[in-house]
Amino acid sequence: MPGKTIKVFEELLEDPQNRLVEQAVKNGRIPIGYSCSYVPEALLMADKLFPVRMHAPGLAGTEIADNYLSSFVCSYARGLLEFEMDGRFDMLQGSVYVPSCTHMQRLYDNLVYLRKPAFNHILDVPRKVNQDTLAWMAEELKTISDKLAAHFHVDMSDESINTAMQKWNAFVNVIQTIGELRKKRYPPITGTEFHQLVMASLASPKDLILPYILDFQKELEGRQGIQNCRARLMVVGGHLHDPEFIRMIESQGALVVADRFCTGTIPGFHPIEPIGGNPYKTMAEYTFARTLCPRMMEEFDRRLNTIVDTVKEYRVDGVVLEIIKFCDLWGVDSMPLVTALRERGIPVLKLEREYRLCAEGQLRTRVQAFIESMGK
């Protein structure tokens, strides 16, 4: 069933700096890497800038990173450091990080120490939301905007940022429309395909990948819905970049219909609604609303309710909670989360995993057992 376009997405995910990034760079545009959903992509779409979600496809070992970060740090952070040290992000002209967790914070410290990049910024995102922290976040966004303007000589005026927000909205509207198809009784798209589409989009210039996405959307219109799945699953957790992880779950007869992870679309892919004249305030509010990371100290109930609502909306049979080994935020948070979901009658499978897909056999067995435990 996979069509031509999905092969394009697959190919774009083979390299952290794919051919579309290369093409944009050749045209004089400026790629800025980022690794956390608390970085508003729209801000990095102003003028010649474009955001590239940093991922580490085909990560084999992390020998250098282990020396600096230790092997007790999450394998995503180690993977990024390893790729940086191997020059796999050499096209990126700058990076924006968030001290979203200790691992990301220390990754930034080690990068600054080892690579001394020309443009690097850490965005100080508060861990709770109120009027004071919203104002703080808006100021943070203004600071980075000024820094980008000064360093890259790009237009970071309010007008330019508003245009970038419109471009972002056009992009997320398409993704959201495709995502809505997953609510259908027989969705025409698998979880693997959807994740390939989203990840490829996040790792490419949006305008250059948009034609492919539109082609894919047309292709979906002519497709039959998937009828033979054993269970509809939702995947919840932190960073999940490799679509092969979803494929592994679906190989057991399940269909992943919803995702609440860092690079997923729930609740993240909604258009930005401008409020007042200050684009930074708008973006600050949007950023807090779109992400549901356990780093935010007061959002357990929102996270739980979003999952419960999604389960109903997407007719989900069970939730797979995926946690990268050594992630304290998700690791600790999963304890009350699993209990709360089970109390609401939602079956949950907690899977501890590495950033790259490994120990597939074990994972398959556990998914299979989970589906069977639901009587599917």
Binding site: C74, V112, Y113, P126, M297, E298, G331, V332, M335, A340
Partner: protein
């Protein structure tokens, strides 16, 4: 439980009886006297032994009066860890071995004053539940005291228990892991969660937590709040906090906490009482700074537990409290006597060390062992090392701002956030300030933030020519790295890197 299991467990305990008896005798007063201490030291030890014993008896009398006989028994059943605290004189016994003179006395004093502090904490925890507010560690409850509330630090017993007895936290760590908490998380939040899961920590009327010091600690409050079903206020320290903008944001946050507490508890802010507490803090800071100045002398007049254990309790938990002020006054007096008479804490001070990251809670004896075996003297540690200004008590606004700065820039808080310099610069600053010979990193397996700095630190130490020992351990769980293994790591370092000879 099956009969076979009960029989097996009983057998195991019987087999362990001789060791338990031996350890009991060794840590008893009799055991101490049999270790042939100097008669003067023995007299001082017995003085503190009796004073601590009397303080415990007074506490039990008060508990009997306040809670009634049944209430006291119920409290002991609900909080069985209280019995572990009775080993406090055994702790003093372990720590003073091989130490003499004023150094010996300062350790007796420190253990005694911490015991008094713990008893105060128990009074707050047990006697007045309607005014009890739970605080996360690293948020000192000065403000709650100023508001007339009773408080306790939820993590405090997770810190104190393994110091008393190595295995004391294990049942709680296991409980948390069995409930689904990730085993690789720091064992302190695990122990805390385990204590709450077992129902071994009293419930108050509200919780105050924060984003300090680490992800596991902060994230555990999502569970803790649900377990207690209490309202919670969370303080948020920004990543970049060395600037006026952050100071203002945090001061507003602290003010938000005060308003929130006033709305949800019977407490009312009394700024005069807050001023007294802040003045007490300032006075303690002044005394501690003088103590550090004396520690710069080689050999140091006092060291080890007298320095770090004093700070750990008296600054983090009861700063500005009369017990803590009195403790620092006496400690300073002892240090001055040694300093004036040019008497070193230990005659064998061959190497001066700093300990970075939290101390080895389940094996704090390692310092006295290293002191006796290689002459390694622990001069200071990262949890103690402050360098903030005194609190300006002119107005509520200045107190809020400066108290907030004290928290944001306090040890561990500033080391776990902000750029790498916050972590690294203090180490090298201490090396110079205290004329140190080596840096010991307490490489807690659960502390990912610390682990991830070792690579840079190793290279920086190499460049600066400072010997570095990265000592692997787990904060509260001796099953991860045993005491023997920890001593072996020190031996390898001392013999291979420092080329040191054993003293005995």
């Amino acid at each position: 439980m099956k009969l076979n299991t009960v029989i097996d467990n009983t057998k195991t305990r019987i087999v362990l009886l001789p060791d338990i008896l031996k350890s009991f005798l060794r840590n008893s007063l009799l055991g101490y006297l049999f270790s042939a201490p100097h008669p003067r030291d023995a007299l001082v030890y017995m003085k503190y032994w009796s004073m601590t014993g009397v303080a415990i008896l007074i506490f039990l009398g008060q508990a009997l009066f306040k809670l009634g006989p049944l209430g006291l028994v119920r409290s002991l059943i609900k909080n069985p860890w209280i019995l572990t605290l009775l080993r406090v004189n055994g702790l003093a016994n372990r720590l003073v071995r091989g130490r003499s003179g004023m150094y010996h006395d300062s350790i007796c004093l420190t253990v005694h004053s911490v015991a008094l502090g713990v008893l105060e904490q128990l009074r707050d925890m047990l006697f007045d539940p309607k005014h009890l507010v739970i605080f996360e560690d690293l948020v000192p409850y000065d403000i709650a005291r100023a508001m007339g509330l009773k408080s306790y630090l939820l993590e405090a017993m997770g810190i104190v228990l393994p110091i008393m007895h190595s295995d004391a936290s294990l049942q709680y760590i296991d409980e948390a892991e069995n409930a689904g908490m990730n085993p690789d998380a720091c064992s302190l939040p695990k122990a805390t969660v385990g204590m709450v899961l077992k129902g071994h920590m009293p419930k108050g009327i509200a919780i105050v937590s924060s984003n300090m010091p680490c992800d596991a600690g902060a994230a555990s409050y999502a569970f803790l709040q649900r377990a207690y079903d209490l309202p919670i206020y969370r303080l948020d320290v920004p990543y970049h906090f060395y600037n006026e903008r952050a100071e203002k944001l945090f001061a507003r946050d602290v003010m938000g906490m005060i308003t929130w507490l006033e709305e949800r508890t019977p407490g009312r802010m009394d700024w005069n009482r807050m001023r007294e507490i802040c003045n007490g803090r300032n006075y303690m800071l002044e005394m501690e700074t003088e103590l550090w100045d004396m520690l710069r002398i080689r050999p140091a007049p006092l060291a080890s537990e007298a320095v770090w254990l004093s700070h750990l309790w008296h600054f983090n938990i009861t700063a500005g409290h009369p017990i803590s002020i009195r403790h620092y006054e006496k400690l300073l007096e002892m240090a001055r006597k040694n300093y004036t008479n040019k008497l070193p804490a230990t005659e064998n001070e061959k190497y001066r060390a700093v300990l970075w990251n939290p101390p080895f809670l389940h094996f704090i004896d390692i310092f006295s062992w290293a002191e006796r075996t290689y002459g390694v003297t622990l001069i200071n540690d990262s949890m103690t090392y402050n360098h903030h200004e005194p609190i300006d008590t002119t107005s509520p606004e200045t107190m809020l701002r400066d108290w907030g700065k004290t928290i944001m820039q306090g040890p561990m808080v500033r080391h776990t956030r902000g750029p790498a310099e916050n972590y690294l610069d203090d180490i090298f600053r201490m090396v110079k300030q205290f004329n140190l010979d080596m840096v010991w990193i307490a490489n807690h397996v659960g502390c990912k933030g610390g682990q991830a700095m070792n690579g840079i630190l190793r290279e920086r130490c190499r460049t600066e020519g400072i010997p570095l020992l990265i000592l692997d351990y787990d904060l509260s769980d001796p099953r991860i790295v045993s005491h023997d293994n920890m001593m072996r790591q020190v031996e390898f370092f001392m013999e291979n890197v420092m080329k040191a000879q054993r003293l005995h």
